[in-house]
Symmetry: C2
Subunit: 185 residues, 2 copies
């Protein structure tokens, strides 16, 4: 355990994330990022030599690790129905604010899309594939399982949009409830 820095790498990522979520890549200024981390702009460059791009990359990587932990890893369990159940619950832990926001979505505009669009696309593909495989394992035809998987992820993303618009978390919770019903009966 390094005892040198005031904030650990993880803690810094946790401070950077809300800025990118609320302002997007182009709207996230170094002044905002410096305030959030309680560092000077120059100090930020010590930790993130390539500047804002590095900061966003680390923020995205940290959220990627949380997605892995809460949403994707559960989909590798032995029992498909339990796996889906756990993964859907994990979605609520992954998107966990009063008004939950998807960092990947916030980074899909302007320079953010140019820099991270490909990585985000691949992440979403992995999620959709793992979910569809589990749905198929419950006895649903593969083609149909793929459709349900895709619709589920779309519903989650859509609910997050409405959460952002109405500044609430109810749409996401309702969405997960519906997903449970639709997939698991």
């Amino acid at each position: 355990m390094p005892r040198t820095a005031q904030l650990s790498k993880t803690e810094r990522a946790q401070r950077l994330i809300p800025i990118f979520q609320h302002y997007g890549y182009d709207g996230a200024t170094l002044n905002k990022l410096a305030s959030a981390t309680e560092l000077s702009k120059a100090s930020l460059y010590h930790h993130y030599p390539k500047g804002k791009e590095d900061m966003a990359r680390h923020a995205l990587a940290y959220m990627g690790s949380l997605l892995q932990k809460h949403v994707l890893a559960p989909l590798s369990g032995p029992d498909p129905e339990q796996a889906i159940q756990n993964s859907l619950s994990g979605v609520l832990n992954y998107y966990n604010g009063d008004t939950p926001i998807c960092l990947m979505n916030s980074l899909m505009l302007g320079n953010g899309k140019t820099l991270f669009g490909k990585a985000i696309r691949e992440t979403v593909k992995v999620w959709a594939k793992l979910l569809s495989q589990n749905i198929a394992k419950t006895g649903i035809p593969v083609i149909e399982a793929q459709e349900i998987s895709s619709q589920t992820i779309e519903a989650i993303q859509g609910s997050l949009i409405l959460c952002r618009i109405h500044e609430t978390d109810t749409h996401l919770h309702d969405c997960i409830q519906n997903a449970r019903k639709n997939i698991l009966g």
Copy 2:
């Protein structure tokens, strides 16, 4: 018909919109907006005295008029099932690119959210209310109709996110197909 300007107000709005859609409010620079309209930055200020805020406001207003025409007006028809059918078809006309993008969604970050968040929220509320009223008129209990309406708009927004990520329009078309089935059987 004024024959003075090279581009009409509507034509200018049509040029500004893609910039705000792809870059968001903060990412849409005056240089990009000037290029898109084939005007100098100074000329833009003649048409939009308050600058970028005015440009985004006009872009949003123009898309609002299209939403009214394609999606909302049909919901005032006499036959609720036909109204829903026409409105869902209208959604495909409203979001009409190779990779359809929602301007309101692109403006829900950073300064865009500060400036237009309230107006966007009200627009979505109107849409949800009109849709739910029509669903209720088909004989579905009001509470349930509200849920279906909300879920439909969420599904549309979610499908647009996936269209943006995968650079396609298929998710939106599939979404509208499913909405037809879900609501109209």
